[in-house]
Symmetry: C2
Subunit: 426 residues, 2 copies
């Protein structure tokens, strides 16, 4: 990379940033935070602290767009101003910048701050581009027919619930719902007994598109503002009974969790890779989904991790236990293809819309992105270091998603935790 | 009805209201309009005119809530203030009220005004409670298994796209999308060839519920702010190919049309009826969906009509032709059951959320709510008075939905048109 903001030699006068596994000066993710006793505002994560963006001498349009308690207006500005902001922040925070004295009073210890949802979500769409997940789930719900005939032609997606998306750290209440055991004559209304997580990459939409317009796949990246982690909590028993014929509804909309820091496309630039070749015999994407540049650099080499911390582990002082290690490279469709497909019928996108990738599972069980897959529908419990087992989640369990990009010659970056604890049903 | 606002003898000093089939003084629906050259604001439809609500001497909380260009804040106030507002408006607009001179300057000819979306839609959920529609559609997509086993237990619903809902009068562009003929080897990306309407009743949510809370079915009506008509335009060829396994997506989200006037629960009070008895053998609703009062008065006797006006008919000066006459009584689940179910897992509802009923078809073909049903999947074209036929919609066709409530001893009311014209694909 010739871009100076990625220079591995670049160090910050914020000393905790240097060697920080997630937020070195090469990352600079944006978010919304509230310092103790203060109002919510836009900030930049750097090491263990957050810089209040309002205090930074940045371009006027950025300053105005970042004045409110959400990133929507900043997202709407698009790639040009965002790249300038990155270059400017990198210069301001670099060792020897001369701005240390002015900015230091506007740094807040992240651990003391409340983190908020980065943007007001207009619409939330969840895709299904993790092909190993789609195959695994398909086996549970449709043993004869795991991967449907449309899968390799259509970036399958559906609308989720925007209102119930919450930022990392917000507990999730176990839902109740209609559950029907396969051998039961009728359903009953009861607390979910098969509560699960889903490991997803989330995409924040920047500049939108007008109703009736389409976004060519080659221009789709210009509509992406950044990335987060997303846990699309799922009630498998509710889902199995309700999902035909119109798809998941109450099995999903009781809560979804996103990580607080929006990692920009610029920060992820060094970790882009070619879209993995389609297996021999897979159909070529239709022309509206096909772009050479996207194929050559549209995927990410981004490790995705799921950890669990149970009440017993917490009591014993044990660390969270890794349930899964996957990678964003297992997406069958690129983000550009998701965006192009979403608008291919003229559906309008808007700044602050959220797209989920769908669960990203690795090909084998060490990297499955949900318990439904890891425990094979609950039949093979996971054993935890505490001696406990889990078929599905229990009350008090905390699930932590993490993402980390690392590559020879680049400083590794992370996304920050996407975590939430399960509260018992009401 | 003992409520004076429904008195059939009640007349308005707005002369066009008396005998008006839709907006007599017994209706008083709320909406957002802009007079020529003016900004969007909240108004009340009365006869052929709209009263600017800001000019009416109403309660302070209502005045403040109605100050913006949307009904969200008014919806949030709930039933108490809304009922007081209705009583007050009825008194102000009644013959001999003494307010005529003060209010007359604030009446705007509806034909001169632009009508806006009544509220900012948070989330849009579409249900599937028209059982005749579900059965008919089921036959097309799943001949062996039209009505799935969950249908009579679960008020089936799914999330739709909020961003692409537009107010009546906004043209709808024919979508393009992936289409795969049953005998084709692969899909192609092309303009939809099976464009359809769907006749639905829409529900606006008033006071919401917090994430994690449930709304008991017996209290669900307190969360309803009012009703509109909804045309859930559908691309049947895109739908058939994309909808498995996660439900309709691009087949629906290119545009949905709502009528501009929000008819209040109070205005519909005289037209409530008992929920039709479930056929012998149908399962009883689970307790969380069962409320005696709701069963005895939770349905509506509300005629629902679909009309078409083609370019040829328009040229010949012919009136719109009725394609279908259905009735809201054909809903298998009540609105209270939809609301209770939606929140039964703790999903939060918010003021301005929009719920669609799903297509409401009558039991026979004179009242089918979509062309897919009326033409039996396109196999039996509809003949129009112009000599034309339609299997599905053609460019330039205008679809008009209307609703009318009429009952012995009450003044009939209507909803106003929900109409839109199809533009050719880009």
């Amino acid at each position: 990379m010739t871009d100076a903001t990625h220079d591995p030699a670049l160090r910050s006068w914020v000393s905790s940033a240097n060697g920080h596994g997630e937020f070195p000066i090469q990352n600079l993710p944006l978010g919304v935070f509230a310092p103790p006793g203060g109002a919510a505002r836009v900030g930049v994560a750097i090491g263990d602290v957050i810089l209040d963006l309002a205090a930074a001498p940045v371009a006027e349009d950025v300053r105005e767009a970042a004045a409110g308690p959400s990133l929507n207006a900043l997202f709407a500005l698009g790639a040009g101003p965002r790249k300038e902001l990155r270059a400017r922040l990198s210069a301001l925070l670099a060792e020897g910048s001369g701005h240390r004295a002015a900015l230091e009073p506007h740094l807040h210890r992240a651990a003391d701050c409340a983190l908020h949802l980065p943007a007001r979500i207009g619409d939330y769409t969840d895709f299904y581009v993790g092909i190993h997940h789609a195959t695994n789930i398909g086996k549970v719900f449709r043993p004869d027919n795991p991967l449907l005939p449309n899968y390799k032609h259509v970036p399958i997606g559906y609308h989720g619930r925007a209102s119930s998306v919450r930022v990392s750290g917000t507990p999730v209440r176990r839902p109740k719902g209609q559950i029907k055991a396969p051998d039961a004559e009728a359903p009953r209304y009861a607390p979910c007994e098969r509560l699960d997580y889903e490991l997803e990459l989330a995409v924040w939409i920047g500049p939108g598109s007008a109703l009736g317009d389409t976004i060519p796949v080659g221009q789709a990246e210009a509509h992406v503002a950044g990335y987060c982690l997303l846990n699309d909590w799922s009630a498998r028993d509710i889902q199995a009974w309700e999902y035909q014929p119109l798809g998941p509804f109450l099995a999903k909309n009781f809560g979804s969790t996103v990580s607080p820091w929006v990692v920009t496309p610029e920060a992820l630039e060094p970790f882009r890779i070619a879209q993995p070749a389609r297996p021999e015999g897979d159909p070529a994407p239709l022309p509206y989904l096909m772009d050479e540049a996207d194929q050559s650099r549209g995927a990410f080499d981004l490790m995705l991790e799921v950890l669990i911390l149970t009440p017993a582990m917490r009591e014993k002082g044990m660390p969270a236990h890794r349930l899964s290690l996957s990678n964003a490279r297992h997406m069958y469709w690129t983000v550009a293809q998701m965006v192009a497909h979403h608008s291919s019928n003229g559906c309008d996108l808007n700044p602050g819309d959220l797209l989920g990738s769908g669960t990203i599972s690795a090909p084998d069980e060490t990297g499955f992105g949900s318990l439904l897959e890891t425990t094979r529908g609950g039949k093979e419990p996971v054993r935890l270091p505490s001696g406990e087992t889990r078929r599905f989640l229990e009350d008090g369990d905390e699930i932590i998603l993490r993402a980390r990009a690392a590559r020879e010659g680049s400083v590794p970056i992370g996304f920050g935790d996407c975590r939430a604890t399960i509260l018992p049903a009401n």
